[in-house]
């Protein structure tokens, strides 16, 4: 299958800092790919290079079969000739234009007849749910509505590619929740290819088909969203996607159906890992706080992966409890439903399923 966007060996420096360190990325047609990573990892630079707002030092970018950047051949197609849409972190709606004028601007630049502009803007305004606000100025609208203008403006040219640069980071959580689902539905319905940059792994999971994790200017790993979440291939990804309990240990027994690992907690059993480990190898294990069950002492009859501990602290977040439980000198974080309310200092037993343990190579 042909790719919609291909980035080959992109390198971009800003003075001393290397923002992109030999980045390769292929985006399939009609796919939404999210690029996640901490700030300064190069994700925004990568997006801006695809947009043409930044010129890489080296490499090649191909969009829908056309070379838009090639350092060897000296090709650089400016952003206004790439025919893409983009939604910005700061909304970037023009304060001196009405909603209508903002969305119509790309069409006006292309000298499209007035009645057609009118028709297409109207369509888009319905698409992004801004009916009745055509003649308002951005400062009269909420942040969420402003971001919808930005989205409408990006869609009005019916681009093949749309880029999102942390579009939710200036919106409050409730608005963002609705908008990101709307974005996914819209982009999928219109069959557009999208690159979506965010620092929020949950946002990426909601919106994207695939996720690329970036760190220090490199793409660390890339894969289907659920795999990145459930089966991260390295410790950085695991920690970035929010796995909160980290346990070090050593593989002591290696069977076909399970392995046993010696840890500070005690002997721990888990499913054969998807990475290649050998007996006696040092490994790091991750367990999600929500994958651990907390039971009153003495706990279940079956003692596999059951560890006795004492509740050190308890905080209520509204829909769940966060317990910090001390087990053999280690501290584990447990998210429990609101109906499991246990006093601090109580003896408890923590239990988790062998399939929920993520095992990764130990050497950092």
């Amino acid at each position: 299958m042909e790719y919609m966007i291909e980035c080959h060996n992109l390198i971009k420096r800003f003075g001393e800092t290397v923002a992109l360190d030999n980045v390769n990325l292929n985006v399939n047609k009609h796919e939404i790919i999210a690029i996640i990573g901490p700030s300064g990892c190069g994700k925004t630079t990568l997006l801006r290079c695809i947009a043409g707002l930044e010129r890489p030092d080296r490499g090649r970018i191909i969009m829908d079969g056309d070379i838009v950047f090639d350092s060897d051949k000296g090709i650089f197609v400016p952003p206004d000739k790439r025919g893409i849409g983009m939604v910005f972190q700061i909304f970037a709606v023009w304060p001196h234009m009405t909603v209508f004028e903002n969305i119509a601007y790309p069409l006006k630049l292309r000298k499209i007849p007035k009645d057609e502009i009118e028709r297409r803007v109207k369509e888009v305004i319905e698409l992004v749910n801004l009916q009745g606000l055509e003649n308002r100025y951005p400062h009269q609208l909420s942040g969420g509505q402003q971001q919808r203008i930005s989205l409408g403006r990006a869609l009005v040219m019916q681009p093949k590619v749309i880029l999102f640069d942390e579009p939710m980071s200036n919106l409050d959580a409730k608005l963002a929740e609705k908008l990101k689902i709307d974005i996914r539905i819209l982009v999928k319905n219109l069959k557009i290819t999208a690159v979506y940059v965010t620092h929020d792994q949950l946002e990426a999971l909601t919106v994207a088909d695939r996720i690329a994790v970036m760190r220090n200017g490199r793409i660390l790993e890339i894969g289907p969203s659920l795999d990145i979440y459930k089966k991260p291939k390295n410790t950085f990804t695991a920690e970035f996607v929010g796995v909160s309990n980290k346990i070090r240990g050593k593989v002591v027994k290696f069977m076909n159906s399970y392995i046993e690992i010696e840890t500070q907690l005690g002997k721990l059993v888990c499913d054969p890992p998807y990475i290649d480990v050998k007996p006696n190898e040092e490994v790091v294990m991750y367990i999600r706080a929500s994958d651990i069950d907390i039971c009153p002492y003495p706990g279940p009859a079956e003692k596999r992966n059951a560890f006795e501990g004492r509740i050190k602290s308890r905080s209520f977040t509204g829909d769940s409890f966060i317990y910090i439980v001390e087990v053999n000198g280690a501290e584990l974080r447990v998210h429990a439903p609101a109906d499991i309310d246990i006093e601090e200092s109580t003896r408890v037993v923590l239990v988790f399923d062998p399939s929920k343990v993520i095992v990764l190579k130990g050497g950092e």
Binding site: A19, P78, F88, Q89, A92, H96, P106
Partner: protein
């Protein structure tokens, strides 16, 4: 990670850089050459370097006295000005004194018109013969109160004139002052008086020092006030002396240049010190979260504060300006004591003089056209500096700001010598020489006005236009310029005012053929016809204040339109 800018060709920026270099560098280079040689007019080709101008400078006691006098006047005026500014700013920002906030524009009148016109206005009050106050005290107590043409007069007027400058530096400090610092002191058991003294003013000291140094620098280079007040009393003042040395025959350009360089070095050192104080972050009490603004509540004493501010405004702003009006309308020489002495005769007589008409016409042409050229040019400079990846953009920025750091009389002399050297006579005696000179003098003012505004316009707004399919030019036209309209209006109006009221360059370059407004006022003053002077000065003040008012009104209106 938004440091990267769109790539663009460096051909156009190179041309801009080249023009800026041609504008700002030669005046200073030529000034140094003159100060280090015996070069006379137009003979820069075969000069030998010597320190003779500096030895000549030191041999003449008038020169030494002029520097010392300038230092004394600057140090005292800046001190008084800073103290008044601190106290007034504190009353306006940090106390609950009523009304004072609305009166603020009146405090700034001395800088809003120009020091030259301001000094002129004081002569209507304290001239030994025709000054209104002196005439009154002569009647009441039998002697004149104070001759404005004196050391005291110089310090008085310079103090009033530099106070607004110190005020502009100190006011933001009080505005950003976190009230919880004061509350903490009061909770710790300190009285209100101790708190104001030790905490509020105690923390203000570094800002006051930097305000003092900036006011000092300004007083050192100011020419307008000594030109009116010191020349008649034959008090040597450095800035005035530089000017006078160009008037002797044969002109003493080398010594003038040497004196100019001495003044420049003194000012640059003081300016650097002030900058380093402002730059030190440990003094700032700003930027913390939970920062609280607040005023202290005062009892009846706030009415005392109000009356102090009122009296100060009446003395420093209202009286001198009001003094000008009857004087300019007087048929007799001096204050019109009878109603039938009041008429528009002076204005009619003035406007029948071809020189005055030429001066007004020239000034309006130079200001209208010159500030437009500068507006476009400095916009381009700011664009290159803030929005492109041009390699030499820091150099361009520094060079365009360079004239700002040079005392006005010094850059004026440098431009004057530069033009004498390069401009053919028919251009030199035309208004183009004056306009060109002012473009050099004020290029930094324009860049300084644009750069912060352009930094405020988020680049994402322009990126969005590029993505939407706009070319770089369309983006500038449809987005950047539209969003900057308020600052275009305000920058244009203040440049216009600067161009109209500019003094040192005008009196150095103006001849009967390219006479300009301010220089014409000065030449009338030299001729001694004060009624015409006051009429002409009144007209200039009215022009300046109305342009300023219109500019503020229009830019505010534009700003409100989109709520940016």
């Amino acid at each position: 990670m938004r440091k990267g800018k769109l790539p663009s060709s460096s051909f156009f920026p190179n041309i801009i850089l080249f023009i800026v270099m041609l504008m700002v560098l030669p005046p200073i280079v030529i000034l140094f050459l003159y100060s280090l040689s015996n070069a006379s007019l137009g003979k820069l080709s075969n000069i030998s370097l010597t320190f003779e101008p500096y030895t000549k400078l030191l041999q003449d006691s008038t020169n030494i006295k002029s520097i010392l006098n300038s230092l004394v006047i600057a140090s005292l005026s800046a001190l008084f000005g800073t103290l008044i500014a601190t106290f007034t700013a504190w009353i306006i920002v940090k106390t609950d004194t009523p009304l004072v906030g609305k009166l603020e524009p009146l405090l700034l009148v001395p800088v809003a018109i120009s020091p030259f016109l301001y000094a002129l206005s004081w002569t209507t009050l304290l001239d030994p013969y025709i000054g209104i106050i002196n005439i009154l005290t002569n009647i009441l107590i039998g002697k004149t109160l104070l001759t404005i043409y004196s050391f005291t007069g110089l310090i008085l007027v310079t103090t009033f004139a530099c106070m607004p400058l110190a005020y502009i530096v100190i006011k933001p400090f009080f505005e950003q002052f976190d009230s919880s610092l004061e509350e903490a002191s009061i909770i710790s058991g300190a009285s209100k008086r101790v708190t104001i003294w030790k905490i509020t003013f105690g923390l203000a000291v570094p800002t006051m020092i930097s305000a003092y140094l900036l006011a000092f620098v300004w007083c050192m280079e100011e020419l307008g006030i000594p030109l009116i007040l010191a020349a008649r009393a034959a008090i040597p003042i450095a800035s005035l002396r530089i000017y006078e040395l160009t008037l002797t025959w044969p002109p003493n350009y080398n010594v003038a240049a040497a004196l100019a360089i001495v003044v420049m070095i003194i000012n640059i050192i003081l300016y650097r010190i002030a900058q380093s104080i402002i730059g030190k972050k440990q003094w700032t009490t700003v930027g913390l979260r939970g920062f609280r603004k607040g005023v202290m509540k005062f009892g009846k004493i706030k009415y005392l504060f109000l009356s102090i501010v009122l009296i100060y405004i009446v003395i420093s702003s209202i009286l001198p300006i009001i003094g000008m009006v009857p004087m300019s309308l007087s048929k007799v020489y001096g204050f019109p004591s009878r109603l039938e002495d009041i008429a528009l005769d002076n204005y009619v007589r003035l406007l029948s003089k071809p020189l005055a008409i030429t001066a007004i016409k020239n000034s309006i042409i130079i200001a209208t056209l010159g500030s437009f050229i500068l507006l476009v040019f400095t916009f381009l400079i700011s664009y290159i500096v803030n929005r492109t990846a041009y390699k030499a953009k820091n150099l361009l920025d520094t060079l365009s700001m360079f004239p700002l750091s040079i005392p006005s009389i010094v850059i004026a002399l440098g431009i004057f010598l530069y033009f004498l050297y390069i401009l053919p006579t028919f251009i030199y005696v035309s208004i183009f020489s004056i306009m060109l000179g002012m473009l050099i003098r004020f290029i930094g003012h324009g860049t300084r006005a644009f750069s912060p505004v352009m930094k405020q316009v988020h680049q994402g707004l322009e990126d969005a236009a590029r993505i939407s399919g706009a070319s770089q030019f369309q983006t500038i036209k449809d987005i950047l310029i539209k969003l900057m309209i308020p600052s275009f209006i305000s920058t244009y109006t203040f440049l216009f005012i600067y161009f109209v009221r500019e003094l040192p360059l005008s009196i150095l370059l103006a001849t009967s053929k390219n006479m300009v407004w301010t220089a014409a006022i000065y030449s009338l003053w030299e001729l001694g016809d004060v009624r015409l002077v006051y009429a002409f000065a009144c007209m200039e003040i009215i022009l300046i204040l109305s342009v300023r008012f219109i500019g503020v009104y229009l830019s505010k209106r534009e700003e409100r339109k989109w709520n940016i």
